[in-house]
Amino acid sequence: MKVVNRDNQLDNYLWILPALAMFLVFTVYPFYKVLQLSFVEWDGITPHVKFVGFKNYINILFHNKIWWVSVLHAGFITLFALTVQNFFALMLAVLVDRGVRFGNFYRLCYFLPPMLSGIVVGIMWNLVLNADGLLNFLLNKIGIHSKIAWLAEPKTALLSVAVIHIWKGFGWAFVIFLAGLQSIPRELYEAADIDGATYKQKFYYVTLPLLVPVLVLVSILTVLGTMQIYDIIVTTTGGGPGYHTEVPFTQIITRMTGTSQFGYACAMGLIFGIILLVVSMAQLLVSTIKNKYQV
């Protein structure tokens, strides 16, 4: 990566100074507080905290089966999103990028779901997935007699939540993919046309390679966004039935506000953060290795 050297390198710090300053004040301090609190037992109310060392961490890592189940659930939804959601988002972005008629209409439609807050989405989908909701109504119309309460059955609850999530998240992936596609210079396609490339060839040899950084971006964002799923679950299943739709955030928030185990919740939050960090860094690493081999 060639970068032109300009006079005083230290001058360049000025460019990142505002970002860094805000970071130190508004990120580091709260983070430090959370770190501090993860080593105590505190109910969020009393002025005094009880220092317990690593007890919270040990309990979460080794004795809390439900925590790991919740991580698994979030992982399942994430995999679902990474594959189904992003595949469709990419395909449709490619179609729109090609320049179909009514492209602007489609762009607007796809972005409507992300605009709604999780709470409204929950209310809406409750009505669709209820035992006498829209989905069963449609299924009955095509001959499948279904009285299933999709969000309440152990076997279908998690999948239903995943579907709601990708319904909402699809628009984001679509918008970013589209932006990525549209920043590929058109001349490259024209040059390929002159060389007689078919559409498939253009896609594999022009589009895809140039889209890799955006693909990585979307993957990382999808993982981050999906693992933190919360609003939708709270308004549809509450983590139930039983523990079938518990996810890390429902576990953490319950302890922060419900059972008043603030310190424990902070420890959970930090462990969760580290898991996400490792996964995201791994994704970045894989992409940089890939880049090295391609160049």
Binding site: P30, F102, Y110, V175
Partner: protein
């Protein structure tokens, strides 16, 4: 000709199916806004027979949308503007300048993006209290700017890295300084990234509520989401008014979105010209 036409129809099928899946629930929200509390869960029609358009005006008045609306507009402009400036400066430095520990800082910002810290909001409140910024607009705006910076840096840098470095060299040779290179040459070339960033953050600020609730106490400082709360009682939810409120809340975002799409497209055209 005919086969092209057929092809285009085939293309439209997946697009249309997806569009209807996206639109249907949203249309239901709109239709619900026109119903009454008694009929909203018994009448499933998408086109209510006696639409009650007055609900929108009633919702606006009851929830005192006026003040909240203006507040949200101000907060959005301040936060999104702040993020755009600070993140693009930083991304430019990470993408095209060199300085000691550059990669350390970059990965530091990325790490922040990747470690969500629920519970940090309490720490943030304590900090704001120490700084005397609780119940002030600045106290509400600054943390949000800070929150949007890591993503902004990552997004902009991803798009900036694609711009060939020869452009920089050519500019420097012609006597351009760093700032002009950034502002006049590079910045216009990353319009798609800017568009995405603006949409993303506008939506984020517009829908933000938790921080507002903790940091602000006075009603006249509150953002738009506070208006919707009035319809969500602890036990009784006034659904038609809530849905009306939701529609009113979404409209400005839709407008911003449409504008940003145009902005992104203009960026592409500019990019083509530059090439």
């Amino acid at each position: 000709m005919k086969s092209n036409f057929l092809r285009e129809i085939l293309l439209h099928i997946p697009l249309l199916i997806t569009a209807s899946i996206c639109i249907l629930p949203v249309w239901w929200v709109f239709a619900s806004a026109l119903k009454t509390q008694q009929t909203i869960f018994t009448d499933f029609s998408l086109f209510p027979k006696n639409p009650n358009f007055a609900n929108f005006i009633l919702a606006w008045k009851k929830a005192e949308f006026g003040t909240y609306f203006i507040n949200s507009v101000v907060y959005t402009i301040l936060v999104v503007g702040g993020i755009l400036l600070i993140a693009s400066f930083a991304a430019f430095a990470f993408s095209r300048l060199n300085f000691p520990l550059k990669n350390v800082f970059y990965y530091l910002f990325l790490a922040v993006l990747m470690i969500p810290v629920p519970g940090a909001i309490v720490g943030l409140y304590l900090l704001l209290n120490k700084l005397g910024l609780t119940n002030t607009r600045i106290g509400y705006v600054l943390p949000q700017i800070n929150g949007g910076i890591p993503f902004g840096i990552y997004l902009i840098k991803t798009f900036m890295d694609k711009i060939p470095y020869e452009l920089d060299e050519a500019a420097y040779i012609e006597g351009c300084n760093k700032f002009n290179l950034f502002w006049k040459i590079i910045f216009p070339l990353i319009k798609p990234a800017i568009g995405v960033l603006v949409i993303f953050n506008v939506l984020g600020v517009w829908n933000e509520y938790m921080l507002a609730l903790l940091v602000l106490s006075d009603k006249h400082l509150m953002p738009l989401q506070r208006a919707l709360v009035v319809f969500q009682g602890a036990h009784l939810v006034n659904y038609p008014l809530l849905m009306s409120g939701v529609i009113v809340t979404i409209l400005p975002v839709v407008i911003v979105y449409i504008f940003m799409q145009r902005y992104i497209i203009s960026g592409i055209i500019q990019g083509a010209l530059k090439g």
